[in-house]
């Protein structure tokens, strides 16, 4: 009885399937096409980024030390308790704010000035543009080493120049001076990051309709007034998005610090990202490193959500 019903049902379904087969198959093929196109990329992202991310979160609650085969036990919130008393971590947090704030602000300011300078047509603009954007292409490890050498009184000119200008009592390496060391990576970062801001802002500047400026100057607006009432409002969305994104990116950008000072002297240049790397790479304490990473992630998550929402909003606007 049961078997009969099942076979009838099967026949019915089979018939139905047969009747609409070409459109259904086509519909399935059409519906799956975008997934097939994006599957390889998606699988890779999930396997190499999402899975390790989840695993990393679990490490934060476990004792994972690479050199200790008996580690791996669940330790609950121990790492976070240790973290709440870790002075080096709080210093790294403050340093991160200082590093990010100074870098973003100065990169943006000099980038904006450069974009405004390059927005005017002049002969040789293409070559000038290629030259000033070149630092962007320099690998970050090389940018770091390069600036470390410039600050080194043995081979670099900077200490000698600062000394002759009277800014230094003797040609010393600022990277080994606890008070000044952070300026080393910041200067390198400014050098390296100006092109990014200049390129994005220049693109936004060139999208401003030129007749607006003409109309404004016919109406008697001076250059300052034109800048404030035309240029700035047009640039505002680009400025907001680039600064928001760059802030996240730079706060996580540890390459220059690791190459130039390795967090020293006396942790004065350690930022959270470089602290995580040091814990994992030097101490091989993956558990503690992951706990710090989790805190950093929580701090950045709120910030990132804001950007995703902003991006959606901007996209829906045009």
């Amino acid at each position: 009885m049961k078997g009969k019903i099942r076979s009838m049902a099967y026949a019915a379904r089979h018939d139905g399937l047969h009747a609409i087969r070409p459109p259904l198959m086509k519909r399935i093929a059409d519906a799956s096409a975008p997934y097939l196109y994006s599957a390889p990329a998606l699988i890779l992202i999930v396997a190499v980024m999402l899975v390790p991310l989840v695993l990393g979160v679990s490490y934060a609650f476990r004792d994972i030390q690479l050199l200790n085969p008996f580690s791996g036990a669940f330790v609950g919130l121990d790492h976070f308790r240790a973290l709440s008393e870790d002075q080096a971590f709080f210093r790294a947090l403050r340093n991160t704010l200082w590093w990010t704030g100074a870098s973003v602000l100065l990169q943006f300011t000099f980038g904006l000035i450069l974009a405004l300078l390059l927005d005017k047509p002049f002969s040789g603009r293409a070559i000038a543009q290629a030259l000033v954007f070149l630092p962007w292409a320099v690998p970050s490890f090389l940018a770091g080493l390069n600036w470390a050498w410039l600050f080194n009184p043995v081979v670099g000119p900077l200490p000698h120049w600062l000394y002759r200008l009277g800014l230094m009592s003797q040609p010393a390496n600022i990277l080994s001076d606890p008070q000044l060391a952070m300026w080393g990576p910041i200067v390198a970062n400014i050098w390296w990051g100006i092109p990014f801001f200049a390129i994005t802002l220049l693109a936004a500047l060139q999208a401003i309709p030129r007749d607006l400026y003409e109309a404004a100057s016919i109406d008697g607006a001076g250059p300052v007034q034109r800048f404030l009432s035309i240029t700035l409002p047009f640039l505002a969305p680009t400025i907001a998005i680039t600064i928001l994104l760059r802030t996240v990116w730079i706060s996580n950008f540890a390459d220059l610090i690791i190459v130039m000072t390795n967090g020293g002297p006396a942790d004065r240049t350690q930022i959270v990202a470089s602290y995580i790397f040091t814990q994992a790479f030097k101490r091989l304490d993956f558990g503690y490193a992951s706990a710090i990473a989790l805190v950093l992630l929580a701090l950045l998550l709120a910030y990132s959500l804001l950007i995703v929402i902003l991006r959606q909003w901007l996209l829906s606007k045009d």
């Binding site: 096409a33 690998p139 490890f141 995580i276």
Partner: protein
Amino acid sequence: MRAKSTFLTIAHRLAILAYIAFALFPLFWLLKVAVTPNDLLYTEGVRLWPSRASFEHFDFVLRHSSFPVFFRNSLIVSGSTAVIVTVLSSLSGYALSRFRFRGKYWLVTLMLLTQMFPLVMLVAPIFKILSPMGLTNSLTGLVIVYTAFNVPFATFLMQSFFDGIPKDLEEAAMIDGATQFVAFRQIILPLTLPGIAATLGFVFTAAWSELLFSLMLISGNEQATFPVGLLSFVSKFSVDFGQMMAAGVLALIPACLFFLFIQRYLVQGLTAGAVKG
């Protein structure tokens, strides 16, 4: 009035020159120390150009050091990463550009989020995952990791190039009986060649520069990429400034070549997901 505009023009050119000087000076100094013979390095101090230039450091680095191996390793890793990423991201970028589908929002959100969170937090887990598979201390392992890191940004970049190609082209081909994939491969991809070249260039540059994961995943000299080799050289022989800088100049060459190559696409590349620095 006339005098004022001349003054402004001069100030403008001077400001541009100042920026160029600031941008190029560190690279110039790198080259300068690289061609300064050792006996002049300390005696001549901060002279802008040594009284006698020589290529002895380059000669040493190329013939008696492991830098050619590091260079080759980096070339293999960056080249393979660039090719694989470009293939994968042209597929996924096409999906984002041409299809409306239910998972699209989530796909885009996932890709944007991967650009947001600190990659440094993956250092430990990725090491733990790759280690039992024998993919630490291996160029293959690095290629896999770099490919995943660069796919999201490259997808947005490729999407922006596909968006610039009218849809009617493949619709016409599909009316003539071609499947969408055939239309994509034979009509759209050839039209996107400049975009593909730009993506190759961006990914190559990114992979060439990557530092933290290559430090973590590679330990021996045999498999070391350029940054790993250069940093270990710096910590071991920190007085051979000439040789270090000669090696630095070598690391700069591919980066500069690719920069000239992708210069025209900088804006598109930097705004695609606005991530790669």
